[in-house]
């Protein structure tokens, strides 16, 4: 079976600074994969490279089609949705408008039904549907960002540090919801995360990123048992 996402020898950076130095990994359809790494290892750059926000070298293949060099507005049309770090909600638009924008690329008749579905999954959003997004708490905005990305009906959801700035209990709730998203709606998730314990608990496989290359890969259980991973990322 060909993987949903196949990244080979990816290189990317900002101006003269090279961040990714030839990284390769895959995500299968319906799978949850986590990329662990310290600050500055290149986690955000990896996500931004896949969704087309920065210039890259190497190959990024989604479902058999190369998307390298494509713009973000085209890549989302290939079924890859990106929840950016810091959430990236439209803060001065209402919750409902944010969700409608999530479905911007769709022309089918099920948009309203999908919106109702995400209001069921995230009842807080329903309560605040007519309020501007910027007035909500960080956790609520993260839910909105995820629901907005899901409104494009992606096959692959890219999540950049979803736990950033959230209280521990809120983070746990969020990861439980991500797990449901994966199991019930069948979306593949690629999560880059500093909170390694939580991320590995919902993932099938994981990679460890150091200085722009993959240094360890394996199943979530293998990574949890790996001595060097435990020391560096799990704090055990």
């Amino acid at each position: 079976m060909t993987p949903l996402l196949e990244v080979t020898d990816l290189e990317a950076g900002y101006g003269p600074v090279q961040v990714l130095r030839g990284m390769s990994f895959t995500v299968d359809a319906g799978e949850t994969v986590v990329i662990l790494g310290a600050n500055g290892a290149g986690k955000t750059t990896t996500i931004r490279a896949i969704s087309g926000m920065i210039v890259t070298k190497g190959s990024v293949i989604v479902d058999g089609t190369s998307v390298g060099g494509k713009k973000p507005e085209e890549i989302v049309r290939r079924g890859v949705a990106h929840v950016p770090q810091g959430r990236g909600t439209f803060v001065d638009l209402t919750v409902e408008e944010n969700l409608r924008l999530g479905a911007f690329t769709r022309k089918d008749a099920d948009i309203a039904a999908d919106m109702d579905h995400w209001y069921e999954v995230f009842p807080r959003l329903q309560e605040r549907r007519d309020q501007v997004a910027g007035g909500m708490s960080g956790g609520e905005q993260q839910m909105l960002a995820i629901a907005r990305a899901a409104m494009s009906r992606p096959r692959l959801l890219l999540l950049d540090e979803p736990s950033l700035g959230l209280a521990p209990l809120v983070t746990q709730e969020l990861f439980r919801q991500l797990q449901m998203l994966n199991q019930e709606d069948g979306m593949a998730l690629l999560v880059v995360e500093q909170n390694a314990n939580l991320a590995l608990s919902i993932a099938e496989r994981g990679y460890v990123l150091e200085a722009g290359t993959i240094v360890v890969s394996g199943s979530a259980a293998e990574l949890q048992a790996d001595e060097s991973v435990r020391k560096a990322y799990l704090g055990i």
């Binding site: 969704s51 803060v91 924008l101 999530g102």
Partner: protein, 293 residues
Amino acid sequence: MELFFQQVINGIQSGAIYAALALAIVLVFRSTSILNFAQGEIAMFSTFVAWQLQDAGLPIALAILGAMVVSVVGGAIIEVTIIRPVGNENPLAIVIVTIGLFIAINALAGWVYGTDGRTFPRIFSNDPLVEWGDVSLTGETTGIVGILLVVVGLLYLLFQKTKVGLAMRAVSSNAESARLVGIRIGRILMLGWGLAAALGALAGSLAAPQLSLSQNLMLSVLVYSFAAATLGGFDSPLGAVVGGLIVGITQNLAGQYIDFFDGFELASAFLLILIVLLVRPQGLFGSKVVTRV
């Protein structure tokens, strides 16, 4: 007292024109964070297009509509060929570019059409429609205010009720996220500049009958419109309209009652800008975006 009311009515008429150009400035600022100093000159050139069309035999209302359509295309072309290549990283560079555009369009108009003023036909009659004693309301004032209301209504429908309007608001809210949800922002920016140019064409065509059409048609109008946008808040269409009306009334009253030095009318606009920047920099309706993290 009658003089006072007459000046208020006159002020509303000029204010409606300032509001239209201020709306154009706000439209561009909201989507691109660019203060387009050339907006008035683009409007002046569009007004010459309207003049050309009516000179060729079109009724004046149709000529203005035609000029607005031409301006949509012209505004979009300016965005793609002149503004976009400069990029958004250096705000100073883009300010210089719009000032350069200002000078270039002004010179181009002088070169093509000469420097003498031309008469521009009225759409609405300047005769009194209603009279209360010495105070009169002309058909022109009523018509101009009516057009402004229709424009505001159409813009409201565009922004609040259509998908492309929602996309325009998304781009001005967060351009990066707009791309991530699949909005092709290049097209949205072209549309924003095109719409702004069409509004400018309208403002210029409404101002030209009183001011006479020349390359300098919009110089003072631009100052008043900037005052209006500053007063109302650069990111608020409602603010542009309210600001335009306040500036128009202030200008007319200042011209009537303050005579210790000539030209206080224009100075009143600068004074207003100064006071707003000191007291409430975001303007009456502008927003300081509050984000909780």
